[in-house]
């Protein structure tokens, strides 16, 4: 079983464990758990030779007396939406099947510069569009707590890789909840940083004004360490922010005494599973015990979040996905005797899955002449109102706590026929995305059936450290701490 991030890094740095042995152990776990018909299917690609090469390089570096990085030998899984030089990157789509990027995403390069081992590329909903992993063109990953259930999405594969201890940490991307919701479903820690905190360079875009890369880990400390490394200004991403990056790991164990927690009434209404509600309330009580105060807050525009999100995100996606046209890379389908338009049509028809097509159509519609103001223009206005809700709330409280998702992991196939009910599973994560705020999901007590539940902690912009501190304070008390799914023990 693969241990926590800090544990492995310290052991490899101290020479107690060789990076190659860690890598071999991780690969062996992937072999045992991930492949085959009954496997978890968290990985779309595992570049075995590259993994061992990288691990040996870390060992050689240590042998040469060169100080090792903060992620020395730590196996980290990479969401397939992130470009990895020389390793197939598909973003879960048929249209990019076999595509090998000539460059690394900035976050991938930053992990490597700290001697992390990129263990493989993880399964995801196609182009990050989905909340269950079922929109992956390569088949859904399965939830290790109950393989008949969805791991959540879109970063489901990353969440599963960590939950089943095939990796200590993983990178995911979160557009409307794509890190937090699968973290909640799989009992892992997931962080969506402030918009602009982490470089998007090399992240295959879904909705550019919302997409943010963030970590999954087996514990809060591990997530905090990875976040400290990937965060910070990148000259290649004009939307990345110049704010200095604190050592988030130092926030683990920081006192949360006196912090004011706000509980949004709007999140505890119809549609919330009672077991999830009880588990989350217990976690909030736990934070009270740690010295926090709790009060209700109002986020009145919450009810517009789903509609607003699906206008803005689909609009941006319709444009972002235009580059997949069969001209330069990826799939090209040329109907015999067809012209250029026929090639475009056939390529995109065969290359994209149903949900992606649905969103491209929606997005194209809301940007169209005559509809722009009524949809896209209005959605931008509502987005501002949602952000103001948070501004007002943060005038009274230091963090906003809620369930991450309204239900525990649902069954595979349960919502595939009903896109709207699928969209509603992100109802608690969307508002912070629209407001660009950082949020952590940390495991709380499981349901009676043993399914994980996540507590979401939203903090003001650039104050990930406070979210980390609260998550760590709860983690220390959480009955879900270090819980490992039975099949992975």
């Amino acid at each position: 079983m693969i241990g926590h991030v800090a544990e492995i890094a310290e052991r490899v740095r101290a020479g107690e464990t060789r990076a190659e042995d860690v890598a071999r152990a991780a690969l062996a776990r992937i072999d045992a758990l991930d492949g085959g018909e009954h496997g978890l299917h968290a990985f779309l690609a595992v570049p075995r030779e590259k993994v061992l090469e990288a691990a040996r390089a870390v060992d050689a570096k240590r042998a040469a007396g060169t100080p090792l990085g903060r992620l020395a030998g730590v196996p980290i899984a990479i969401k397939d939406a992130l470009c990895t030089r020389g390793v197939v990157t598909t973003s879960g789509s048929r249209i990019l099947e076999g595509w090998v990027p000539p460059y690394d995403a900035t976050v991938v390069a930053r992990l490597a510069s700290e001697d992390a081992i990129a263990i493989g590329k993880t399964n995801m909903d196609e182009f990050a569009m989905g909340s269950s992993n079922e929109n992956s063109a390569y088949g859904a990953a399965k939830n290790p707590w109950d393989t008949s259930r969805a791991p959540g999405g879109s970063s489901g594969g990353s969440a599963v890789a960590v939950a089943a201890r095939m990796a200590s940490a993983a990178l995911g991307s979160d557009t409307g909840g794509s890190i937090r919701q699968p973290a909640a479903f799989t009992g892992t820690v997931g962080v969506k940083p402030t918009y602009g905190r982490v470089s998007r360079y090399g992240l295959i875009a879904f909705a550019s004004s919302l997409d943010q890369v963030g970590p999954f880990a087996t514990d809060v400390r591990g997530a905090a360490r990875v976040l400290s490394i990937i965060a910070g200004r990148d000259e290649r991403d004009a939307t990345s922010r110049g704010a200095s990056v604190p050592d988030f790991e130092a926030a683990c164990g920081a006192s949360v005494q006196g912090l004011r927690l706000g509980v949004p009434e709007e999140y505890f209404q119809e549609g919330l599973d009672p077991e999830v509600a009880a588990s989350v309330r217990a976690a909030i009580d736990g934070l009270k015990d740690a010295g926090c105060t709790v009060r209700p807050v109002k986020l009145p525009h919450t009810r517009f979040a789903v509609a607003t999100y699906y206008v803005i995100a689909t609009a941006e996606a319709s444009s972002n996905l235009a580059r997949f046209d069969g001209v330069r890379y990826g799939l090209r389908v040329e109907p015999t005797g067809g012209d250029l338009r026929a090639m475009y049509g056939a390529t995109r028809d065969q290359g994209f899955g149903r949900e992606v097509k649905r969103r491209i159509l929606l997005g194209t519609f809301v940007l169209s002449a005559g509809y722009y103001d009524a949809y896209y223009g209005r959605a931008l206005k509502v987005r501002t109102l949602i952000a103001r809700d948070f501004d007002a709330a943060f005038g009274e409280v230091d963090a906003i706590v809620s369930p991450t998702a309204p239900t525990p992991a649902f069954a595979l196939g349960e919502k595939t026929g009903d896109p709207l009910s699928m969209y509603l599973s992100d109802v608690y994560t969307l508002p912070a995305s629209l407001a660009g705020l950082p949020a952590v999901s940390v495991p709380c007590a499981p349901t009676k059936a043993g399914l994980p539940v996540g507590l979401q902690i939203v903090t003001p912009a650039l104050d990930e450290a406070r979210g980390v501190a609260l998550a760590a304070a709860w983690e220390a008390r959480s009955p879900a701490r270090d819980a490992v799914p039975p099949l992975a023990r």
């Binding site: 550019s208 290649r236 004009a238 939307t239 996905l321 235009a322 002449a369």
Partner: protein, 473 residues
């Protein structure tokens, strides 16, 4: 029968002369093998993001200021969405409802027309489709991502001739600013024209037709003239003008329909979420203004007022920024701008070839100033100056060396010339007597003899003086 006036507005796309592309670090150099100046960003690879090139902004602002625009403190980039193989991302990054500059003007001297500029915005160029035989096409993305400014005029032009003057004026402005290389053939300066007609006296604009991608000044004039005539014929015959986009067929000399208004694409512009709003503060604008080269009209005025050139000579000396720079440098080195201008006009310009921003001047300003200085010093004659110039062309040689090597040094030593003159007078006693007796035309005979003996190297002034003295004239 009603008489019509033509109403024209022009949209000019000009490539900015940055070393690198507008959203990546690839070179903008023209003529490289296809797809060699490319990277993940300008190839539109998944995950790549644009980062704005500050040099492009500076040049764009320089251009906008030169056409009198005000610069917006905040503007936005927007995506113009359409599919085409030369457009790698499936959208062009442009500016839409918030351009960086607006409300300018260009004054046309010959036409006496004040043309308002509606807006200037920045955008990226597309690549090039190269259509091969057998229906195959290839795409060269070297040009994709080259920075452009689009300068949009109000419909203030009233004839094809004015449109051509506007384009020449605008091209000269951009050329002298070092913003654009003015190459219509290479497509770095392109133009679309919106053309409509209306009865003289009518205020309301007629239905406009957009003429696309006309790539020479001559074609612009012809295309607009043809289009205005076509529209007049339609109206005269009782028809209506359809709003459409038309192209220019050079071979047939006619415009033809490309697409109707109904077929017009919906570009679904929206703010590009990958690029923060473009902030241009007053300090930046002031710096750009201070660094901007002199505009052609200002140069002309200065050459006339300060260097005393005739308006015509000032015009000729400002036909190209390199000619102007050559003229100014030579004037400064030599000191007499009028003589420099005369020599440039009579000799040098015959050998100058210009191609966009490049202009090949056959000699350096230093060489030219030295040639004229030799004339001033009486070392060579004006006629010899032209020969010296001819020998200097394309060489780095010094004027003095060329004169010495060719044995051209003028005989201006009065003593040596006097000895020669006396010998010639003695050899031609009859002519000398006749000249003394008043047959003035024979003076030239003696000058000619001296020049013949000296192979033209005698100073004419000295020859004149000596002849008069020796013959007692």
């Amino acid at each position: 029968m009603a008489s019509y006036e033509t109403v024209i507005g022009l949209e000019v796309h000009a490539q900015l002369l940055t070393r690198t592309k507008v959203f990546c670090a690839c070179s903008t150099a023209f003529g490289a093998p296809p797809n060699t100046h490319v990277c993940p960003v300008c190839l539109g690879l998944p995950g790549a993001l644009p980062v704005l090139n500050g040099d492009a902004v500076a040049l764009a602002v320089r251009a906008a200021l030169a056409v009198g625009c005000s610069i917006r403190a905040a503007s936005r980039f927007a995506r113009k969405n359409y599919f085409y193989p030369d457009l790698p991302k499936g959208y062009q990054i442009s500016q839409f409802d918030e351009p960086f500059a607006e409300h300018g003007h260009v004054d046309l001297e010959a036409a006496g027309r004040h043309v308002r500029i509606l807006r200037v915005h920045m955008e990226e160029d597309a690549g090039k489709n190269i259509h091969g035989r057998g229906g195959d096409s290839i795409v060269d993305l070297n040009r994709a991502g080259t920075p452009l400014v689009e300068i949009v005029s109000e419909p203030d032009l009233r004839s094809a001739n004015e449109a051509a003057e506007y384009l020449r004026t605008l091209r000269d402005i951009l050329l002298f600013l070092g913003v654009n290389d003015g190459n219509l053939e290479e497509g770095s300066f392109r133009c679309d024209a919106n053309v409509s007609i209306r009865p003289v006296g009518e205020e309301k604009l007629g239905t406009r037709v957009e003429l696309k991608n006309i790539n020479s000044f001559r074609f612009v004039e012809k295309a607009i003239e043809h289009e205005a005539a076509r529209q007049e014929a339609v109206l005269t015959a009782g028809g209506r003008i359809t709003q459409e986009t038309r192209g220019w067929d050079e071979k047939k000399g006619t415009t033809f329909s490309l697409r109707s208004k109904e077929e017009a694409q919906d570009y679904r512009y929206f703010p590009d979420p990958d690029l923060p709003p473009l902030a241009i503060d007053e300090v930046f604008v002031a710096r750009v203004r201070a660094e901007s080269p002199e505009l052609p009209r200002d140069k002309r005025a200065r050459f006339a007022a300060e260097l005393h050139l005739t308006p015509y000579a000032a015009e000729v000396m400002t036909q190209h920024p390199r000619v102007a720079a050559f003229f100014e440098e030579a004037s400064m080195l030599h000191g007499d701008a009028v003589r420099v201008a005369n020599f440039v006009q009579s000799e040098v310009l015959r050998d100058v070839t210009t191609h966009g921003l490049t202009a090949n001047l056959p000699i350096s300003a230093r060489q030219l100033a030295d040639v004229l200085a030799l004339v001033d010093a009486g070392k060579i004659s004006g006629k010899q100056a032209k020969e010296v110039y001819a020998k200097l062309r394309g060489t780095g040689a010094s004027a003095a060396d060329v004169v010495a090597e060719a044995g051209m040094a003028v005989v201006s030593d009065a003593g040596a010339i006097e000895a020669l003159v006396r010998r010639i007078v003695e050899a031609n006693p009859r002519q000398a007597e006749q000249l003394k007796a008043g047959k003035a035309t024979l003076f030239g005979f003696f000058v000619g003899q001296v020049m013949k003996e000296t192979k033209g190297s005698a100073s004419p002034q000295v020859v004149n003086d000596v002849l008069k003295r020796v013959l007692g004239l």
